[in-house]
Every structure is written in C-alpha cells, then in structure tokens.
C-alpha cells in the first residue's frame, strides 16, 4: 500500500450538510449583525457625543433600562412559582394553561397594547378601580411596565420551566425524605440547581422588555422610552436625528446583555468544572 493511501483524511472530508450550515450560518450572522454595524456609518462621533449630552435621550434610555429591570423583577416573582408548578405536575388543563401563558408571543404587539388599553381604560372595572384609587397607569411608568411585562413574561416562564425540568424529581424526593419541606427543597436544591437557566430567562426577558415598542406606545407614548423617542425623532426629523440615539441604545443594550451573559456563562463554567 502506498504512503499516500495511508494518510489520515478524516479531517479533510467535507460533508454537504456542514457546507450548507456554513453558508446559512453566514447569512444569518450577516442578517443579524450587518444592519446594526451599518448604522454606525450613518453618523459621526461628534454627533454621537452631542447626543450623549442630550438630556431627553439620556432620560429615555434610563427610563427604558429602569422599566425593563422592574419588569424582569416582577416577571421573576410572578413567573417562577407557575413555572415550577408546570414543570412538576401533569394535569388535564396543563396544555391549555401553557398555551395561555404563551399567547402574548403570537399577538402583534400593537394589538396587545390595545387589548391592555381596554383593560386599563376607566371604562373597564380594573381601570375604574385604578382611577378610584388615584393610580394612573396610562401615560405613566406603570403603563410602560405593564406593556413590557405582557410581552416578555412568557419568555421567563418558559425558560424557568425548562430549567426546573433538568432537576430530577427523585433528587427532590430524597430531600423531602431527609426532612426538608417542599419549600426548603425548592430553595435549597431545585432553585440553586436551576439558577443558570433562570438567569438566562431573565436576560432574555430583560432584552425583550427593553426592545418593546408596539405595546408601549399604545399605553404610554409619554414618558418616552428610548424606542419611542427614536421613533418620534425618525418620523419628525428623519434619519439624521434618529440614528445617534439609536446607536447609543444599541451600545448600552449590548453592553448590559454581554455582561449578563458573561455572568451566566461564568457560573456555567464554574459549575461544569465542579
């Protein structure tokens, strides 16, 4: 047998599926990243610096971050118990309840905003109750958070549910048989072992909330969150005035997203090492 025929060629083989994956992968990455990068060519550093000193822009970005963070915290406390229950129990209406939880994901967001508006307007019992108690939801931060919560809550519930499913029920059984109550088992075993999945869910929830626009403008055009401000500047003054604020929001969102992802991945590596 010749020397050439004995050479290991396993590393040189190209499978068709991998070639297709490489091409489609490139298309996806280009599709995701290029429009974002391209925005930077439409302005200059001087304008961005000026925009950074624009109080209206900074206030809107801060409001976006604040409302998205409050939304994520509320989603966490509301979503975790339900996610745990759905992960651990089989019952007749489970599919229906899971579908109802996910409904906001299939409703166009302006439609969701109008649905919420019907609930919060003074003509509805809830809106009337809020008005009677001097709680203003429409045109306030409360309205922004409600809109963000409506569209992002399913992401947290679904992520937490998947994370809880990874913890074996038998591990919880052992904990109970050793004297821990269900709550002690949840806090001491299940939640600790699921925290990475839950954190990922919180990151996605936050990201979804900060990017929400459609439902928010219906409930609260003012005070302006960043997407609303950018929309307003675009429709009133055009691209030139919309892009600098756009870039600042992109950069801040990406920085926060990357930091949170790194925290999450850092935990994963530590966990895997252990």
């Amino acid at each position: 047998m010749s020397k050439n025929s004995e050479e290991d060629t396993s590393g040189k083989r190209f499978e068709l599926i991998y070639i297709i994956a490489a091409i489609t992968g490139f298309i996806i990455l280009f599709f995701n990243v290029f429009p974002i990068l391209n925005t930077f060519y439409w302005t200059d550093l001087e304008t961005i610096k000026k925009t950074l000193l624009d109080r209206e822009v900074i206030a809107s970005i801060w409001l976006s971050i604040k409302c998205a963070s409050i939304t994520t915290i509320i989603a966490f406390f509301l979503g975790i118990p339900l996610a745990y229950y759905l992960a651990r129990h089989e019952f007749r209406l489970k599919n229906l309840i899971e579908s109802l939880v996910d409904i906001p994901m299939v409703i166009p967001h302006t439609v969701a905003g109008i649905c919420l508006l019907t609930v919060l307007s003074p003509r509805s019992p809830i809106g009337h109750f809020l008005e009677a108690n001097n709680i203003e939801a429409l045109g306030t931060e409360i309205g922004i958070v409600i809109a963000m919560l409506f569209v992002s809550m399913p992401l947290l519930v679904d992520s937490a549910k998947d994370a809880f499913k990874w913890v074996p029920t038998r591990m919880e059984n052992v904990s109970r048989s050793l004297g821990a109550t269900q709550m002690q088992t949840f806090l001491g075993v299940t939640f600790i072992l699921s925290w990475r999945g839950i954190l990922s869910g919180m990151i996605v929830t936050w990201a979804r909330a900060i990017s929400e626009f459609g439902a928010v403008i219906i409930l609260a055009y003012h005070p302006m969150i960043a997407p609303t401000l950018i929309y307003e500047r675009f429709t009133t003054y055009g691209m030139k005035y919309a892009i600098p604020a756009n870039i600042i929001l992109i950069v801040i969102s990406i920085i926060i997203f990357v930091v949170l992802r790194l925290v999450s991945l850092g935990g994963k590596e530590k966990h895997d090492k252990n």
């Binding site: 059984n173 109970r176 252990n274």
Partner: protein
C-alpha cells in the same frame, strides 16, 4: 415494626391493589419482582412521595399514612444516587440534619463518624459528587440516608447501576451496615441473587399486583 394494610395506589392507568406487608424492627426485607411491577411505587408510597388511594401505613405503631414525607422519618435511596451536585460529600451526608427539630448534635456527630468509618468515606469528604465513582456515590447516598437514624431505610435498586465488582463490595457493605446499625431496611430489586444474599426475608410482588 412496619405494617402496610390493604394499600391501594392508582397512578393514571397504573394500579397496585391490596398490598399487605409486615416488616419487623431491624429486619432487612427485600421486595422482589419483575421490572415495572410497582415495587418502587410501593417504596415511594411508604416515603409519602406518591398519593395512595386507600390503606394504612404504620411505622412503630405510628400511623404515617397522611403525614408529609418530611415528617415520616423514612429515608429513601435510589439507584441513581441523586446526590446534590452543588454540595460536597460532607454537606450531602449532613443535609438532612439541619431539618431535625430538637436535634441531638452529639448523637448526630457520632452517627457521622460511625458512617464515615463504616463506609470508608474519610478521604472523599471534601469532594463534589461529580468527582466520585458510582460506588462512592452510592456509599455517600447510604450515609446521607442513615445519618438521621431513620425508622426505615428504603433502597430502590441501589446496586443496579453499579458494575459487577463494585456491586459485590457495596452488597457486603450493605450487609455490614445492617448488622452494625440494625436499621430496618426495605430494598427493592429484580435480582434474585442479590435478594438471596442480603435479605432476611423476601416479599414477592406479582405482575398482576
């Protein structure tokens, strides 16, 4: 003494009917039967982990039928160990002690020492479960189940995931534990040889249940 009277369990289409069982205090009873006969479900019913349709479970003349698992003083060990991966061996073993009301620390400290010696765990106390072999994990799981002096230790096929050499050594250790601590043990297996080696008495569950 453990008495199970006319136990009926219904989990969807799966049913177990009229189980009667008596286990003497300090006895090693093996529940033998084919796969999917419901042996594990009976153990989980004793531990309070699955709902029962009717019947009674008494442990040392105490009716535990309606008690929550954490109030039964019944420990369970599974074949897949289920050690808590975020705790080292020491913390895994001592996990249950934090929930013991009016706990006798010196007694539990003695139990800890005795179990660590008995199961040869001294060298691995600071390790995480991920770094343990199957046999080591099962020994830790046994120590964790025994440290709180349970009225009954339930073993759900504890040897079936182990390779043959380790299996023999854990079998011997199980026998040794029982002879030393005199804990009442109910073990489920489908392996007749295992049952023959370990059991003082064997109960057989039929497929008809």
């Amino acid at each position: 003494m453990i008495k199970i009277k006319n136990l009926n369990i219904s989990l969807g289409n799966f049913q177990i009917k009229n189980v009667e069982l008596k286990v003497k205090k300090g006895e090693f009873l093996v529940l033998l039967g084919p796969t999917a006969a419901g042996k594990s479900v009976i153990l989980e019913a004793i531990a309070g982990l699955v709902p029962i349709k009717s019947g009674k479970i008494l442990v040392n003349n105490r009716d535990i039928t309606q008690l929550k698992p954490e109030h039964r003083n019944v420990s369970i060990c599974y074949q897949d160990y289920n050690l808590f991966p975020h705790m080292n061996v020491r913390n895994n073993i001592c996990y249950g002690l934090r929930f013991k009301k009016g706990r006798n620390n010196s007694q539990y400290h003695k139990n800890f020492k005795a179990l660590v010696d008995l199961l040869k765990l001294e060298d691995i106390l600071d390790r995480l479960p991920l770094n343990l072999s199957g046999g080591e994990q099962q020994r830790v799981s046994l120590a964790r189940g025994l440290i709180g002096s349970p009225d009954v230790l339930l073993l759900d096929e504890p040897l079936s995931a182990l390779d043959p050499n380790i299996k023999t050594s854990i079998q011997e250790e199980l026998k040794n534990i029982h002879q030393t601590l005199h804990t009442t043990i109910i073990m489920v297996t489908h392996d007749f040889i295992e049952a023959n080696y370990l059991a003082e008495r064997v109960a057989i569950i039929h497929e008809e249940r």
